[in-house]
Subunit: 417 residues, 2 copies
């Protein structure tokens, strides 16, 4: 009896320690069949039920990594709305809680092991992007755009918003018929194909995900655009030749902070004297790595940079930053769409993958929704140009007037007909 | 005879050395009554006539500083269009030419002497901004806005463009009636008065130029806005109290790169939990000081930062950058207006100041036009916010539609009537 009492007192002490480390969120923590901690002055919005004592101990050592693994493996069960609970946790948890010596050590070892060398990048990208395309088809839009969409209005559908994003990028870099574009990190090819189809440009699109390149080439063929879009299975560091516009949507997160100068060098050597470009990427308010869980289970080698870090790409080469837009709320909305579709296809996905995979990806998607809502994650689009670039619009009004766009399309049609 | 030959050969060698250091521009260099160097493969767009050998020697040692002083003192005469000639020089001159050990030493000593401490800033600001307001009235717009204007269309007048800029800033930070605004570095008060008058906010406006503060207070009184706008003669480091929006237009150039964290600290301690703000400043593509001439004769203690440096203001305090716009072409146009008005008032200005002052200011204005044209100078507007800020617009379209603006004005009128 007294042994049981002692151990339940220890459980309670452990739970309280975890609860304090998490910043005392409006969430109830419970050890299955045992002790629990509840918020003092607030209603609990969700319950986190820890299934065993081992998990409890591990949570104390490395809360973020263990939460992810335990949730995926069913050793933690969350009762209530997952996104909502994660938002509360992100808001309450002081950043210092991720910064224990153990967590730091693991984090830095992982950064070394997953470093984005030529070979390392291939391995890292393979793990996420070479999953069966059929899986992504289940919950992405029909064009398979796996980056933040742009919702011109709240009512836009995901399909509309992804199409709008592709076009927004083209308008931001002011593509002109006949120009040569490099698309670095081209996914399943939607942006490159949109550019060639609607703006009369030729595109060389680089990607190290074999699976994605194969799908993209097939789509180019189907659309009769193979002569205008070249999907090349190669690393951005091997890009050669000249281009008028250098565009990269959703690749920078996989470049790694050690390699921003390399990417800048590639842009500088590729870009014509009057060239310009756009980078679109997940960023941060200040330098901070992804959790080790995210890097181990979801995005190996990934890093979302703060703007100060990103400037290493532009500053050594005298490139002018023309426009930076933070589309954070749009990524929260995009991810809400993905998560809802993902949940809808639970049955089909569970036939393809294990329950652990299913839960890990649910946590990743829900965590990203929460991160963009709360503001631990940002989404930046940066337009840049050579100082000699003449294609700098006088104001940004053209991005928001449909007439100008129609005019541009007409102009292009005249130029090629 | 042979002595004369030798000295003219030395002159020619000196001229050629200067010409090479300047990157062989399409400009003819001539020593008055003596040697000259002409571009080989191009027509000379202008002649630079050096009046004496001492100037020639000094140009070799510290080209930028000496060019400025010699031009001001009439020891260099420029035949041709000044802006055009400076553009050619800026384009041809490799940046390494500013980087000799002597130039670097002088530059760093000057940075120390003119450091922007509380007392140093007062002295630095006094030298430029406490000049007789009547002087600035001659060539600025009637509202005395001494920062980059925003020309919604090419045809806008300077008056219209300055009014549009004031409003653009207000719209970018989404001012709401009743909010509390801090305006750091408020000039002659145009922005603070515009905000109070058109957006129903209260403003505390800080400035260490006594002359400007006196003028601004008088204008507030004349407009019946003294109860809404408080012009305070004090340093940004002494700002206290809370605000909903923190705005600073054209002050950052005088903060000094050693003090960006100080400014960030002031913003962080001033800004309400849901606050946001805007910084508007002259910037660079990469870190690079103003010439020693500019800092000695025009803007003591000034520094135009690269975006990477500016991020020190936001990153330590978890502020989100929402929007960065580079308005470089607008500043070139603004400065063209100022320069043209300045030239028109030559007679009146020459009654107030010496010919050296007149020429120095002509060179400063023309040099700035050239810098913004060529791209050695940038003009950034950065909108930032706390992560908890709710006043983040869904898209930037509202900045470019008049209806929304009218709606906002109507809303404000309802709120206060």
């Amino acid at each position: 009896m007294s042994g049981q009492n002692n151990s339940s007192r220890i459980d309670e002490w452990l739970l309280k320690s975890i609860y304090r480390a998490a910043g005392q969120p409006a969430i109830r923590l419970r050890l299955r069949g045992g002790a629990e901690v509840s918020p003092k002055d607030a209603l609990a919005v969700a319950n986190i039920v820890i299934q065993d004592r081992k998990t409890l101990l591990r949570l104390l050592l490395d809360p973020e990594a263990e939460f992810g693994d335990a949730y995926s493996e069913g050793r933690i069960v969350l009762e209530g709305d997952l996104v909502c609970a994660l938002e509360i946790l992100y808001r309450s948890m002081p950043e210092a809680a991720h910064q224990g010596w153990y967590v730091k050590l693991v984090s830095e070892c992982l950064e070394y092991v997953q470093r984005d060398s030529l070979r390392g990048s291939r391995r890292n990208i393979h793990q996420h992007y070479d999953l069966d395309t059929e899986f992504y088809r289940l919950w992405l839009d029909p064009q398979l755009v796996y980056t933040c969409a742009y919702f011109p209005s709240h009512g836009a559908t995901l399909e509309q918003a992804q199409a709008a994003k592709l076009d927004y990028v083209c308008r931001k870099v002011q593509l002109q018929p006949g120009e040569r574009v490099v698309d670095a990190g081209s996914g399943w090819g939607a942006l490159a194909l949109h550019m060639a189809k609607n703006y009369g440009v030729t595109v060389r699109a680089f990607n190290i995900s074999r699976e994605q390149v194969l799908v993209a080439r097939r789509r180019a063929k189907e659309l009769g655009l193979s002569h205008r879009v070249d999907f090349i299975e190669d690393d951005y560091r091997n890009i050669s030749g000249e281009c008028d516009a250098f565009v990269s949507v959703g690749m920078l997160e996989h470049v790694g902070r050690e390699h921003y100068r390399d990417l800048g060098r590639v842009i500088d050597r590729s870009l014509a004297k009057t060239g310009r470009g756009l980078l679109h990427f997940i960023g941060r308010n200040h330098p901070r790595p992804f959790t080790t869980w995210t890097r181990r289970r979801i995005f190996p080698g990934a890093y979302a940079p703060a703007l100060g870090e990103v400037m290493q790409i532009f500053e050594p080469w005298d490139l002018s930053v023309l426009d930076v837009e933070n589309l954070r709320p749009h990524y929260a909305k995009t991810l809400e769409h993905w998560l809802a579709r993902f949940e809808k296809c639970e049955q089909q996905i569970s036939e393809m993958f294990s329950p652990e995979f299913m839960r890990a990806w649910r946590l990743y998607l829900a965590g990203a929704v929460a991160g963009f809502h709360v503001g631990t994650l940002q989404l930046f689009q940066i337009v840049f140009a050579r100082t000699a670039c003449q294609q700098i619009p006088w104001t940004r009004a053209h991005l928001y007037t449909d007439e100008r766009h129609e005019e541009q399309e007409t102009k292009w049609m005249h130029a090629t007909s």
